[in-house]
């Protein structure tokens, strides 16, 4: 018996799930459906352009398609091209692994001013996501609000010299944008004390390699907790580092209360410290990096709220969720691997328990998908991107959806 599984989202959670399912049950028919014409989601558009080692998991995911027989169905949006109900009708199991890509907002006055930007929007533009808005002018004084790894990624990329981006896959336009940025000062502000910051210590330590900056750390607290102590030690190690022109300042324990400026243009950010004092940081750009929520399209809140067993990832009979979509925006790629492996066992056990039910048709129920982008179509994009990489870059991403589709659908053969 060969059950059909549709995984919505081909990022790390979806790929790890397909890997685990097909390892245990090689006969399953597994399709990874993505709204983009290209796979790998966060690994392509969220992992920083200068963290190519982290992107090495793509080699595993390639095998999911090339050796384990999973299908890629790109450029198909659930809720637009196909309804979730239709998908559930056609597949024995549907798994939502769409991640969380919408930026959370602070909910304070002034967030709609010119000069206020959101981390997800900004990184999508930097990493040339086809739906990204153009890169904004940041001006000379940037404040980054947030202390997670995404905030540190943005800090590091804004702080790097052009030479320090060698070997990355940062595109020509974003690279040029960074070179011309004119940033003199970056302040990175955490609402929590330093001991409770969310970044990984290694992300902080990495900053000492940067040559164009000088770093100061203000107001770090103390803690005996071993995990907190590692973070504090990393901050202490970078405090005072460097004599480059760009000043980097870490600040902690500041609650943002208002963004303001004349004529709808940001001029300053106002915070309260732990003692109730107002702290004002003048800035030309304010970037919020405070976590992610669900995109419109899939009714995540409703589905998660009514889940049969949220912890196990069972939303309803035959409908599952994994990764950030299930848990919320916490945890790294390996956490999502573990999550996906647990869910794979659960799904296989459910199949076993329902062995009497007839098989469902899977992708054969969707003849329209002949026009979707398959894995071979993606490989044409991949090959073109790698062969067009300029010197000092490992890839030249194709940024427009039309250009991707033109290449991918050139001679697409429908693979079943």
């Amino acid at each position: 018996m060969s059950r059909a599984v549709a995984i919505v989202g081909s990022g790390p959670s979806g790929c790890y799930l397909a890997q685990a399912l097909l390892k245990a049950a090689p006969d399953l028919r597994v399709d990874l459906i993505d709204r983009l014409p290209v796979p790998y989601g966060l690994v392509r558009y969220g992992v920083a352009a200068d963290h190519q080692g982290t992107k090495g998991v793509i080699r595993q995911f390639e095998r999911v398609f090339e050796r384990q027989g999973a299908g890629f169905v790109g450029n198909v949006t659930i809720g637009e091209d196909v309804s979730l109900d239709a998908l559930r009708e056609a597949y024995d199991a549907v798994v939502l692994a769409a991640g969380l890509s919408a930026d959370r907002t602070l909910g304070i006055a002034g967030e709609d001013l010119q000069g206020v930007h959101r981390a997800g929007q900004l990184t999508r533009a930097l990493y040339e996501h086809p739906d990204a808005a153009p890169l904004p002018e940041l001006g000379s004084r940037v404040v980054i609000m947030g202390n997670g790894n995404v905030a540190i990624d943005i800090l590091r990329l804004l702080a790097k010299t052009p030479e320090e981006l060698a070997g990355s896959d940062l595109g020509a336009a974003p690279s040029d944008w960074l070179t011309r940025s004119g940033i003199e000062e970056i302040e990175i502000v955490g609402r929590s004390p330093a001991s409770a910051a969310k970044f990984d210590p290694v992300m902080i330590k990495e900053l000492v390699k940067l040559e164009g900056i000088n770093i100061r750390v203000l107001g770090a607290d103390r803690s005996d907790d071993p995990e907190a102590a590692k973070k504090l030690a990393a901050l202490e190690a970078i405090n005072g580092h460097g004599c480059g022109a760009r000043r980097i300042t870490f600040r902690f324990g500041l609650t943002p209360i208002e963004l303001s400026g004349p004529d709808d243009h940001l001029k300053e950010a106002r915070f309260l410290d732990g003692q109730g004092n107002t702290v004002i940081l003048p800035c030309s750009a304010f970037i919020t990096a405070i976590g992610f929520g669900a995109e419109v399209g899939l009714p995540r809140d409703l589905l998660i709220g009514e889940a049969v067993d949220r912890e196990a990832g069972v939303l309803a009979p035959g409908l599952y969720a994994t990764g950030w979509f299930r848990r919320g925006p916490q945890g790294t790629i390996p956490d999502n691997r573990a999550d996906a492996q647990r869910l794979a066992s659960h799904i296989l056990a459910d199949f076993e328990g329902a062995a009497a039910l007839p098989e469902k048709p899977g992708r054969q129920a969707f003849p329209d998908w002949a026009g979707a982008v398959g894995y071979h179509g993606w490989k044409r994009i991949d090959v073109a991107e790698i062969s067009n990489a300029p010197e000092n870059r490992c890839r030249a991403k194709i940024a427009s959806r039309d250009a991707m589709l033109a290449l991918a659908l050139q001679k697409e053969e429908v693979s079943q």
Binding site: Q19, G53, G56, V57, P201, I333
Partner: protein, 155 residues
Amino acid sequence: MNIMLLYGTETGNAEMLAEDIMSELEGDHEVECRNLSDFSPDEFDAGRLHMIICSSYGDGELPASAQPFAEALKTAAPDLKGIHFGIFGLGDREYEETFGFGSGTLAELLIAHGAVQVGERITHDASGSDMAEDVAFPWASQIVTLAEEKIGEVA
């Protein structure tokens, strides 16, 4: 030769490499491949070559699947005299300071309990241009040759 191929992994890259090495070796040798999380220190066998693939994670820490094994080794403190192992690391030179620490930690731990390391410990760089298997296959065949002399019996 009888080979126990063990991997310590966090993202699955070391697991994939171990599977590749197994395919490479199993035509000529008897190979069993296992996650370190499913291997107990009392399963070491003096008649076998233990080939270990281990990544580093975070700030040079052991990957998740190697941690219970390392803990068990520290707690049980077995005498590993006569046990032969070779070890290959996966690392990322973006994090130069702790490059290859995971495999290094594991090697030191095994040696401290009396095991003998065969050949050199090499660490593949995920930020480099070489594929892991292109570095690991020649390493593996060299380790096997060295171990055949040392273990002195070809299965």
